[in-house]
Amino acid sequence: MPDLSRLMREKNIIFVTLALCLVFYMISPRFLSLDNMSAISRQIVPIGLIALGQFFVVLSGNIDLSMGMGSVLFAIVLGVFFGMTGGVALGIVAVIVCSLALGFFNGMLVAKLKLPAFIVTLSMLFCAQGLSGLIIPRGQQIFLMGGFFRFVGAEKFMGLYWSFLFLVALFALAWVVYNHTRWGAAVIAVGNSEENARLAGVNVDRVKIGVFMFSALCSGFAGIMLSTRMGFVQPGLDGNGLLLDGIAAIIIGGTLILGGRGTIGGAFWGLLFIGIINNALNLLNVEDVWHQVFKGAVILAALGANWILWQSRQVEAH
């Protein structure tokens, strides 16, 4: 019994998500159909990649606002290379190189020049938005056809989309890195107290540059996944929507926005939570004007529920 209540407190997002599923299921049994589940699994991939990258950045006490627009930019980089070469290999290499470069740039400004991550990445958000419209000739859309896009976007393996499997694999890898390598402990340490981490001999600058390179790489992957799903790229995709959904996912999953605390599992459940809400709003034919109301209210409710559970755990507030 005490174990159950502890589980309820610490893993409350799981219960909230399951409860939400039940409600949606009662409204529309199709919600839990295999087809719909696999649709959700595919829809969450870009948000999931943003969430995973953001997770480490937030854990280290920073934030990366450039991830959403970054992924739009990288989708377009892929498109431009595809348009020039007709193949994907070079495009993917270019995306990886460009994203790592962006991450390195963000990380250097934050770590070496001590600029606030919020400001650096906010400016990079604007820059990415601008570049995404400027590097494509006359801003037109580019179609991405061919085996790779079809394979990643639509093929399944044992009933699961490859893109989803890729996401899960990346989460698993991140879990191992987070829990079982020095890197994980170092990121927690930096997020808790940069000063103390430095005193303990952690190379704080390297950790920061690392998390930003990882987050940018994730937004590169998210861009690739976006393009495979859509079959074409164009500037003006709603990158900020992706960003905000990704941040919401990890915060709902219990990551402390101030850094230093969070779990990969929580982030994953938070992602499912967001994915389910996005899906259900369409699936249940909720009238459009109510979408935002519903989403805002559900997030507020989740925060409130978290607070109530968290409050019972608090011994002394001050």
Binding site: V176, T181, R182, A185, N192, R198, L199, A200, G201, G260
Partner: protein
């Protein structure tokens, strides 16, 4: 070969402040070298240069006569130097083991993966060696400050260092834990480890050190074998003059009761405490760390909601959970034990830091009267002889002792009736201490009731008109001046007088 450290001609400036000037400092393995000096003398700065936290402007560091470069904390570790910093420097979200091995985790052979089991085993082995019951898997944020200090010490011990720097390691330790620390130190000495020990407490220094170096205003003014010097001489070198000793003026307590507490209880913290404070009276609560006294004092101020019993203040009953705002409005003040956590407002000026609690009283036509604030602030700075270049100075640039004075000076307002002080001289040098004692005594002279929590027996004896000893949340005995019995008090605190 015995290892040896030499710091030669070290100089360091922060902006226009010359923190260190041509400092020469040496120590050898197997000895404890005490480093003392007033607040802001440069002790921590010197050690931070050794630890790679700061970079020196001039000079040279040699280990075994070989010049070394220490550009980052990790470099210090590589040269066998471990540090216990003045401020706790642990990571709350990591476990005990995670903290101890942070930055030098043990890995499974040939893989990038940490061997958590092995790290936990080694930590437990160390803890067992000293008979400590700490779970290596516990997150550090759940530990109390004494336990955290122990984790810091174990971390230094387990680092394979030949030189350990301890910057005021006892400031958060109970008497018991202090004894344990001295025991560690003696064992480490025997194992051939060198220790640099910084403290403001002369008895500790004369108890365990072989050498003492005294710093003043960034220069070394004395460096001698302990055996060849005396406490008086050391103190005199620290201050550069005879310390004008604080002498407590004793007076009749005739005023009304300001505060009376009846049967105050909070499970796990304190139990059935009854006490009273009169106008102009200084009541001191003392005991060991964990005796429940700070929780009790905070409950009186309104920081703790869940207690039973009654708090009467100026003929009113104060309800639990009312928050400190009511207390402040009614003329109560509090100086907390942790300046940085909840004592100062770092980006704000000295003026804002002092003026905040009494702003309502300076209103003129609904707006703050700047001239009035300025004059109150100026008086507060003068009365506490706080060293600041101007009231516009940001408080975070002040030294610890001066920050502490600011925490006092906000309460010097004439409507103050009761001042609660938690460890008022923690980390404060002998000189600033005398200043602070004088401020306390002045306030009492004005009729303010004062309730102090102190763990230092000498301070307790020096300040108290009345002393209450506490043990495990209960008051044991009450002593009224001049009937103080130091030995009995110590016995009370250790639980000897406790029946059940």
């Amino acid at each position: 070969m015995t290892e040896r450290l030499d710091m030669l001609g070290i100089g360091k400036s922060f902006f226009a402040t010359r923190a260190l000037d041509d400092v020469n400092f040496s120590c050898t393995a197997g000895e404890v070298h005490a480093l003392v000096g007033l607040n802001g003398a440069g002790k921590s700065t010197l050690m931070k240069i050794l630890g790679g936290v700061y970079q020196r402007d001039e000079g040279e560091i040699r280990i075994n006569n070989t010049p070394v470069e220490i550009a980052a904390p990790a470099d210090a570790g590589r040269h066998g130097i471990a540090m216990i910093h003045q401020e706790l420097s642990l990571i709350g979200e990591l476990t005990v083991a995670g903290n101890i091995f942070l930055g030098k985790e043990i890995r499974h052979k040939g893989t990038p993966f940490m061997n958590k089991a092995e790290m936990a085993r080694q930590v437990r082995a160390q803890l067992d060696r000293f008979g400590l019951a700490l779970d290596p898997h516990r997150p550090v944020r759940e530990l109390n400050s004494g336990e955290k200090q122990i984790v810091e010490i174990i971390r230094a011990l387990m680092s394979d260092a030949w030189l350990i720097v301890m910057d005021e390691p006892t400031s958060a330790l109970s008497e018991e834990d202090k004894e344990m620390l001295f025991d560690f130190i003696r064992r480490m000495k025997a194992e051939g480890i060198a220790i640099i020990y910084i403290s403001h407490h002369m008895p500790e220094i004369f108890g365990i050190a072989e050498d003492v170096t005294v710093m003043r205003d960034g220069v070394i003014v004395l460096s001698e074998r302990i055996a060849e010097t005396s406490e008086d001489h050391v103190i005199k070198s620290m201050t550069g003059a005879e310390l004008d000793q604080f002498v407590k003026p004793h007076k009749q307590i005739t005023g009304k009761v300001v505060l009376s507490v009846d049967g105050l209880s909070s499970p796990g913290n304190y139990d059935g405490v009854t006490l009273g404070v009169h106008e102009g009276e200084i009541v001191v609560l003392t005991g060991l760390r964990g005796c429940g006294a700070p929780e009790l004092a905070k409950a009186i101020f309104g920081l703790d909601a869940g207690y039973g019993g009654e708090v009467r203040y100026l003929d009113k009953t104060l309800k639990p959970g009312r928050g400190p705002a009511v207390a402040v409005r009614e003329g109560m003040g509090l100086v907390t034990e942790n300046r940085d956590k909840n004592g100062i407002l770092p980006p704000l000026s000295v003026r804002d830091n002092i003026a905040l609690p009494f702003l309502e009283k300076t209103l003129k036509g609904g707006l703050i009267d700047g001239a009035r604030v300025d004059s109150i602030v100026a008086k507060a700075i003068r009365d506490t002889s706080t060293k600041t270049s101007s009231p516009d100075q940001e408080i975070r640039f002040l030294s610890g002792g001066n920050k502490q004075k600011i925490c006092f000076s906000r309460w010097l307002d004439e409507d103050l009736k009761l001042l609660i002080l938690l460890e008022p001289t923690r980390g404060i040098d002998v000189h600033a201490k005398a200043d602070i004692y004088r401020i306390i005594e002045d306030l009492a002279g004005r009729g303010v009731g004062i309730l102090i929590l102190s763990y230092e027996i000498d301070e307790v004896l020096m300040l108290g008109d009345r002393v209450l000893t506490m043990y495990q949340g209960a008051t044991i005995h009450e002593y009224a001046y001049p009937h103080f019995d130091k030995d009995r008090m110590l016995a009370d605190m250790a639980g000897a007088g406790h029946t059940t």
